[in-house]
Assembly symmetry: D2
Homo-oligomer: 351 residues x 4
C-alpha cells in the first residue's frame, strides 16, 4: 500500500525495454545519436509543431533551467505559493536564475485564479531599477493539490500574462495525468492555449529519470545547450534518456499509464468517500488528499500503508480540517493495483 509518491513506482516495462533495446552497439555521446534525433522528432510530431526540446534527468532541473532561460536575474516568476518550484526544490530556480525571484500567489486548490493574477500584475510595484519585473507565469499541471487547469483556464491566464509581457511556463511533472483527464491534445493543452514553455515530466509517469524542456517557439531555446551543460544536465550517454522519452510518447503509453494512475485515484477517492472520508479537493489527477482521523491514520500505518502528511493554506474557502485529523496526500501511479487501493480503503473504513 504505497501511496507516498508516484516516484515510488519503478520503471514501466515498455520503457525499461526501450533502454535495453538501444543498448545494442555504440552511439555518439551528448545527443549526437539517432535515438535522440528520433525522440526530438517525436516531440515535434506529438505537439503538432516544430519545437526545441531538451532532455534532462530531473524535474527540478527542467523547471530551473527553463525559468532561468526565460528571465534575466532581475526578473520575477509568478506562481502559486505552494507550487513545487516555490517550496520543494530548495531554491533551484533562484540558483539557476542567478537570484531571480518567485512571487507567490494564493489560490484554492493550488490553482491561480485569473483575477488573482490580474490583481498581482496591476497592483504590485514592479519594474526597474528598484523593483523586479514579472516575466513568467508558471503553472503546475496537475497542481500540487491534484487539481488541474482546463484548457480554457490556461488560455485565460495566458492571455493576461501575455498582455502584461509575461511568458507562460508549465511545470508538467504530472502533465500526462492532467491530459488523461481532459482529453485535450498535447497541442491544445499547451501552445494552442498560450503556453510558451513546458517542463514535460516522464519520471513520475513511468520513466527511470527523464524530463524534457519544450520550447514551443524554437528560437527561445537558443543557448539552452550551453545552459544545460554548465548546469550539469547534459547526459553523456544521451540515447538512454532519449529512449525513455521516446518510448513514453510512443503508442500512447504515456496516456495509458496516466489513465491507470488516475483510475486508481478515483477508486481510492470513491472508496474513502464511502467511508466518510471525502477528499478536500476534487480528485482530478492521481492524487487524493483527505483528512484522516487519528485512529484511522494509526490503523493504516500499522497496516504498513505509506503516505505523507500534508500542509496547505489552499483549502477550499471556509474549509478547516475537522478536529483531530491529519491532512494526508495519497498518490497513485501506473504501478498502483486495485488490490492495493481496496486494501487501503478496507483498513481505513474498518471500525
Amino acid at each position: 500500500m504505497f501511496f507516498a509518491s508516484d516516484n515510488a513506482a519503478g520503471i514501466a516495462p515498455e520503457i525499461l525495454a526501450a533502454i535495453a533495446k538501444v543498448n545494442d552497439g555504440k552511439a555518439l555521446a551528448y545527443g549526437r545519436d539517432h535515438v535522440t534525433a528520433q525522440a526530438e522528432q517525436r516531440f515535434s510530431e506529438m505537439f503538432e509543431r516544430e519545437v526545441a526540446v531538451f532532455f534532462v534527468a530531473t524535474g527540478t532541473a527542467a523547471n530551473a533551467l527553463a525559468l532561468a532561460h526565460l528571465t534575466a536575474p532581475w526578473d520575477a516568476v509568478l506562481c502559486h505559493h505552494e507550487a513545487h518550484i516555490a517550496t520543494d526544490e530548495c531554491g533551484a530556480p533562484e540558483f539557476f536564475g542567478g537570484g531571480l525571484k518567485l512571487i507567490p500567489l494564493a489560490g484554492e486548490g493550488c490553482k491561480i485564479a485569473p483575477s488573482t493574477l490580474e490583481h498581482a500584475l496591476d497592483k504590485g510595484q514592479w519594474g526597474g531599477p528598484h523593483h523586479v519585473t514579472p516575466k513568467v507565469l508558471s503553472l503546475s499541471q496537475s497542481t500540487e493539490a491534484g487539481t488541474i487547469y482546463r484548457v480554457d483556464e490556461i488560455r485565460e491566464l495566458a492571455e493576461i500574462a501575455h498582455a502584461h509581457g509575461l511568458a507562460v511556463h508549465v511545470d508538467g511533472a504530472r502533465f500526462a495525468n492532467a491530459l488523461a483527464r481532459t482529453n485535450a491534445s498535447l497541442a491544445e493543452a499547451t501552445w494552442k492555449a498560450g503556453v510558451d514553455v513546458l517542463s514535460f515530466g516522464a519520471t513520475k509517469g513511468g520513466a527511470l529519470a527523464a524530463e524534457a524542456i519544450v520550447f514551443f517557439d524554437p528560437a527561445r531555446g537558443a543557448n539552452m545547450p550551453d545552459r544545460r551543460k554548465r548546469g550539469g544536465q547534459l547526459i553523456s550517454k544521451h540515447r538512454f534518456v532519449a529512449a525513455q522519452l521516446d518510448a513514453y510518447l510512443a503508442d500512447g503509453l504515456w496516456l495509458k499509464l496516466a489513465r491507470h494512475a488516475n483510475a486508481m485515484a478515483d477508486r481510492l477517492a470513491a472508496g474513502l468517500a464511502g467511508a466518510g472520508l471525502v477528499p478536500v479537493w476534487p480528485v482530478e489527477a492521481n492524487e487524493v488528499f483527505v483528512a484522516l482521523p487519528a485512529p484511522v491514520d494509526a490503523r493504516l500505518k500499522a497496516a504498513g500503508a505509506t503516505y505523507y502528511p500534508w500542509v496547505s493554506e489552499a483549502l477550499p474557502n471556509g474549509n478547516t480540517l475537522p478536529r483531530d485529523t491529519t491532512l494526508v496526500r495519497l498518490v497513485t501511479s501506473f504501478a498502483t493495483t486495485s488490490d492495493e487501493v481496496d486494501r487501503f480503503v478496507a483498513v481505513a473504513r474498518a471500525s
Copy 2:
C-alpha cells in the same frame, strides 16, 4: 570502429541487469530506499573507511558540486589548464561555485608537477581582499592525456596542497582505468595518499548515468544534500542510480571492465606503433593519442572509424607534431573489441 569516446559505449550487461532487478516493487524516492543504503555502505567498505557519498547523474555535476562545496565564491581551484573542469564543462564549476575561479597550471601529459604546484602557490598573489584564495587542488585521474598519477605522485602533490591549506579533489571520470593500471587499492589511491574528495565516475566505465561524490571526511559532506537538490541532481527514483553504482563496485566489475578497456588501448597503441604511429604520451589508461598523417586520417574516416581531433599544449617537451599530421584521440571502452582494434590498425597501416 568507435573510438570517439568511452561514452559511446552502452550499459554493461551486469549494470543493466541490476537496474532491472531493483525495478521489482516500490521504494521510497529521493534515496530513502534500501538499494541506496546498500550502495552507500558498499562505498564505505570499498574505500575502507566511513565516507559520505552522494550519487548524481553526470560527471560535470559531480565535479561542480564537489568543487563548490569545498570553496567559498572568493576561493580558487588550481588545476591543469587542459583539465576537463577547466575546458570541457562550459564553466560549470564557476556556475555552481558562485563565480569561483579556476587557476590553470601547465604540465606535460596533462599532469601537474610538484614543482609547478609549489611555484604557483608560493609565487602567486593570493589572498583577500584583493586576490582569490587557493582552496582546492583538482587532479584528473586518469588525465585528459590518458596518463595517470602514481600513488606517490598524488601523495607528494597532496602534501604540498595540504601544507598550503588546500584540499585535494580528484576528477575520477576514468578513475577505474587508472587503478586497473596501478593495482593500488581504492583506499591507497585516494585518502591514504591525501585525497579529500573524489568524483568517482561509473558512466564512462559502463553505467547508464551514475557518478558519485565521495567525501573521505564525512563532515565535509554536510549540507551537500541541499546543494545537490537545488543543483537539480537529486534523482527521484534514486534506487536506479544507486543500483548502477552498487553493481559497478560489486564483484570487481569496475576493475574488470576497466582492465578490458585498458587492454584494448594497449593493443591499439602497440598496433599503431608497429605502423610507425607512436602515441605522443604514454598509454596508461584507455586513451591513445597519435599524430595521424593526413592520408591515414582520410583512410580511417573513409573506413568509418569514429574519433575526434585533439588540441594540446601539453605535448612532451620539445615535441612538435610532424608536419601534415593531426593529433587525434582514440578512446577504448569496456565494449571495445579486439576485432575493432585490429581493423583500425589494419586500415591505419595499409598502404
Copy 3:
C-alpha cells in the same frame, strides 16, 4: 516642500566638513588608513563592545552583503513582505546570496508580530534537501511604514528567532530615527536585545554615501573583506567613507539630525491631523503616511510639493482607505524646515 525622501537632502555640514578635513595629505587606500581605524574604533565604543564593522557605499549593498554572509544559498531570510529588502532592492539579497530566498511575512504597520514569526517557523515546511532553511530574521528599524520596534519587541522576536536557529539582522537605514524616538542606547537597541548584525545607515541621516555593516560577534565577519571586495564595495579612497561615519557618530550628531527629522514629522503629522488628515500609522520616526483626497493631492502638487504615492497591504486591521484618496508617503529629514512643513500643511488644509 520636499517630502519625497530623506535621500533628497544633501550632506549635513558637519559631515561635509569632515570629508574636507581628511582630504589633507595622503593615506593608504582600501582602509589601511588611520581615519578608518578611528571610525572602526568609534563603532566599538558607541556599541559598547568590540564589533567587526565594514563600510560600504549603499544601503542595498549593506543589506545584501550582510544577508549573504549570514546564509548559505539554500537558506532563507524571513522578513516583512513590504520590507525594503523584499521589494525595493531589485533582488539584491538574492543576487549576493547566490539565490537565497526571502520569505515574506504579513504584519500591520510593516511590523512582524511574534506570533506571526512563531507560526511561520513552526508550521512552514523547512529544511533540506527539499525545502530551504530559515537562517535569518530581518527587521527594518524604522520600518517602511515609519513605525518602530521597541526594545522589548526586538527582544521577543530575537528570542523566537534564536530558539529556532536564526540570526537576527536589522536593516537600519533609518536606525537613528528609531533611536531618537525611544532613547534606547545603541547597545540596548541591538546586541543587548538579541540583534546579531546591523546595517547601520548614515546616508539618509545626513551623509553623502556611507553605510556600515556591524557584526556584534566579530567572528561572524570573517571573510567579509573578500565578499565586500568582490561585491564591488571596497571603496579605494576609504578614509572618505570612514570620515563620514566617524563624523556622523561623533558628538551625538546622528541623534541630533534624527531628532530634528522626527520633530518635523511630528509637526507635519499634527498639522495634517488638524486638517482632518490623520496618519494611517503611528508616526514614530520621520515618515508620515496619509490618505490624501484627490483635490488636496492636486493642490499640493500644484504648489510644488514633492512626495510619492504608496501602496500597502499592511494597513491597520479593518482600515481601508477612504474613497477617492491616495495613500502618500511624506518623509522628513535633517534638512526639512518648519517653514516647509507649515507651508505644506497650509496648502493641505486650504479650502
Copy 4:
C-alpha cells in the same frame, strides 16, 4: 614620499568644491536630478556621440557590471593574465557575471599583441555546449605595467575582436593618464577605434569615489539600471557622484590632473635612470616600475617612502631582474609634488 598608489591621494580641490556646490538644497534621489542629467549630457558631448552612461562608486563595480552586461554566464572574457580584472578584483567579474570565465593571455608590458589575440581565438576550443564562448576582449588603458595602447593598436585589436564576434571593453581606471600621453581625443581613443564599452575612472584621477560605465551604443545599456541597482551600486544621493564626474570632465580638469601625474612619473623615471635604476617598462602613464637593489630598498623605506613590491611575468623578453633586487611599483598622482619625487630620487641614489 607616497608612491603606493594614486588612490592614496585625496580629492582634487575642484571636485571637492563641486560636491559642496551641489549640496545646496534638495534633489530627487537615484539619479532623477538635474546634476546627473548635466553630467550625463557632458559625457555625450565629450565623447562626441550619444552614449548611455552609468555612474558607480568603484572601479571594480564598473568593470564587473560592464562585463556581466556584455556576456551570458557561459561566455568568456579575454584579457591579459595580469589584468586588474583577472588578479585584483577578488573574482568580481565572475561573481557579477554569474560564473563567467576570464581567459588569461600573455603579453609583454601587460599589453596583448594582435597575434596573441588572433591565436587564442583561432586555436582555442570555444563554443557550446562543452566550451565557453569568447564574447569580450577587455583591455586595460593604461595597463597594469604603466604602458598604454596607441589608437592604432586598439583599432587592430578591436578589428580582430569584432571579426570574431567579440565586443571590446576597456578598463579605464587610468584612462586619463593614457590620453594625456597620446593626445588622442576621447572619441578617437574609444568608439572611433572600436571600443564598445568603457569603464571610465575618475577616482584615481582625483575624485572621491566616482566611476562611469560608458556604452557607446546606448542600446547595449538597456537594463543596466536594474543590474546596477541589484548590484548595490545605485547611489541614492546621486547628484554627488554625478557632480564629481561632471567637474572632472569640465574645463579639461581630467587632462590637467593626468598630465601632472604623468609629468611626475617622467621626472621620477628620469631621476632613477640617472641613478642607474632604469624602469623595466616604458613609462607611458603615471607608473614607474624599477628593480631596487636591497640596500636602496631599505634606504627608501627607512626614509619613509611608501610603495609596493610587484610580481610580473610580463617583463620584456629575455629580461630577468638583477640578483638581489625587488621589482617595485611607484605610482604618481595629481597630488604628487616635484619635491616628493626629488627627495625619493635623492635617497635612491645616495651612496
